[in-house]
Amino acid sequence: MSVQAREHPASARRPRLFAKLTEPSLAGMARRKAAMGYLFILPTVLGIVIFTAGPVLASFGLSFFEWNVIDSPKWVGLQNYDHFVHDSRALNSFVTTGKFVLLAVTLQIFLSLLLAIGVQATRSKILRYFFRAAFFLPLLTSAASIAIVLAYMFHQDFGVINYYLGKIGIAHIPWLNSSGWALITIVLTYVWQQIGFTFIIFLGGLAGIPADVQDAADLDGATGWRRMWDITIPMLSPTLLFAAVIGVIGALQVFAEPFVMTNGGPGDATRTVVMVMYESAFSFLQIGYGSAIAVVLFVAILVVTAIQFRLSRSWVFYQ
């Protein structure tokens, strides 16, 4: 390096560091690129270590302590987990969340697939643009603010939904006031907001089905449901898996809708895992117990995702 610098009088006059940064040799360039690489990833790696990777380990660690933030943490071993398996409220929140995920993701994928197939078959450009905007817009709204709107619409006595149902002879439904209906109402609200996500993904997946496959199906006379089951769904199966995996991960974390619309009620009918975690850690200041619930949720997400990939071997078709 320094030999080269001496050979070039122009760069010899520059400060040494600058000479290093501007020297033309190939080995020097590789070294500079490597140094630049480390420098460039530094902010991201640092941020992720401090605010994601570190905290995940800390959550795990905190779950073995009893801590109310004010006093110093006290090691309690597995006591928080022991408490968890005997805490009917927390266990119930996992059951509630499980029901919610199953209902919400199934409904979301089914409806958005139908909408995507419908829009895909629509020729008019203007209609396509309109449908895409209509089905997509709710996704862009804030779950918390839009939950306010839907809570008003689902209001048992003054809500527009019961008003129109009343017009067709259906008696007022206690959407948010009965433990039987409340979870369904949360599911409908969530699906309404999230449908645009899977809709857009399916629309892209449908557009990606090669024309020769479609032509072959036409030649074979494959029509209607048969065509749908034998060609469209298998060709779309990797997209369906992607939608199901992302959909389940998102739904397992549901919080804003039940928090705003029912605050977990009536009773505990809509109290989800994240709500119980939030209440434990931030309302009751049981940092250790809240962390234990967070760890269980994280593990549940990993396990459910792994199961989905495992099961996908039997139904996902890769071209």
Binding site: T22, I41, T44, A151
Partner: protein, 293 residues
């Protein structure tokens, strides 16, 4: 109701009855899609219509979907009832800071992982990518503790600082940088450009689609964010818009929903503007797995 839509795909068999159905099918399909559109747009239309009615009429049934003449007093009221100006300012400040921060950190790390060679690069990249699997809930308690120890609790910085670097943004920008051919770098080297110039003057402008995608997804995600502000912020004047609106709804109850909905409509405006300007980028980003709640 919607399941009928797919029946309309039972097309093309040659009998006369089937041919009649074939002609009818698109009409039914479009009718059902229009019905679905009405359902999907109804809550937004309801919010807008109700926000323009007199507070006393906000629960009047049948609902008036066309509030004529519009009454703008709710929009004045909501600014008087709560510090809505601060909410908007706080949300804008937090969101824009995070967008700018993520653009910088992701452009740098995406370029490094996509185009620079250094020992340990692939391992580091996969480690970064693996953190995408970690949900917010699994980190939020320790992050809250950390924020408190740094004396940042109840500040806007507590929302900004932890969100400045992003595994998703890194992944996204890497994809865009990798699509750009190497020839640009070779040509720039011949012209005597140094590595920084190659990054900043050549590759960064060529990856501007990626930057746009990331900016729009990030804007949307943080403008709408609820859980972190709920946990990190205590004082009303620090609240962001969604938190402020939920708080407003909480103490107004069903008293005067038109005022609350005026606030909701205001909070929707930037997001609608972003859709009109950048829907192409939004959709591109969603296809890559962004914006998942």
């Amino acid at each position: 109701m919607i399941s009928k839509a797919s029946q309309s795909f039972q097309v093309a068999s040659p009998s006369v009855a089937d041919q009649a159905r074939l002609r009818l099918a698109p009409v039914i399909r479009i009718a059902l899609l229009l019905a679905a559109s009405v359902i999907m747009l109804a809550p937004i239309a309801f919010a807008v219509a109700t926000s323009l009615r007199l507070p006393a009429e906000s629960f009047s049934l049948p609902p008036r979907w066309l509030p004529l003449p519009p009454d703008w007093s709710n929009y004045k009221m909501v600014f008087q009832q709560v510090p809505l100006k601060s909410y908007i300012g706080n949300s804008a400040f937090v969101t824009l800071s995070i967008v700018i921060g993520q653009l910088i950190t992701s452009a740098l790390s995406g370029y490094a992982f996509g185009r620079l060679q250094f020992p340990g690069r692939n391992v580091l990249f996969w480690l970064v990518l693996a953190t995408l699997m970690i949900p917010l809930q699994a980190t939020i308690i320790p992050v809250f503790v950390l924020i408190s120890k740094l004396h940042l609790a109840d500040t806007l910085a507590s929302l900004i600082l932890p969100a400045l670097s992003t595994a998703f943004g890194t992944f996204l920008m890497r994809q865009y940088f990798m699509q750009i051919p190497n020839e640009f770098e070779d040509a720039a080297l011949l012209d005597g450009a140094n590595q920084w110039q190659i990054f900043f003057n050549i590759y960064l402008p060529l990856a501007k689609t990626g930057l746009a995608v990331l900016a729009i997804l990030t804007f949307n995600a943080y403008w709408n964010e609820f859980l972190r502000p709920l946990i990190f912020l205590k004082s009303i004047d620090k609240f962001t818009l969604p938190l402020g609106l939920v708080n407003l709804q909480g103490y107004m109850g069903t008293g005067s929903i038109s005022v609350v909905l005026a606030g909701v409509v205001i909070s929707l405006l930037p997001v609608l503007a972003v859709y009109l300007v950048g829907q192409r980028y939004l959709i591109e980003g969603i296809m890559m797995g962004g914006l998942k709640g």
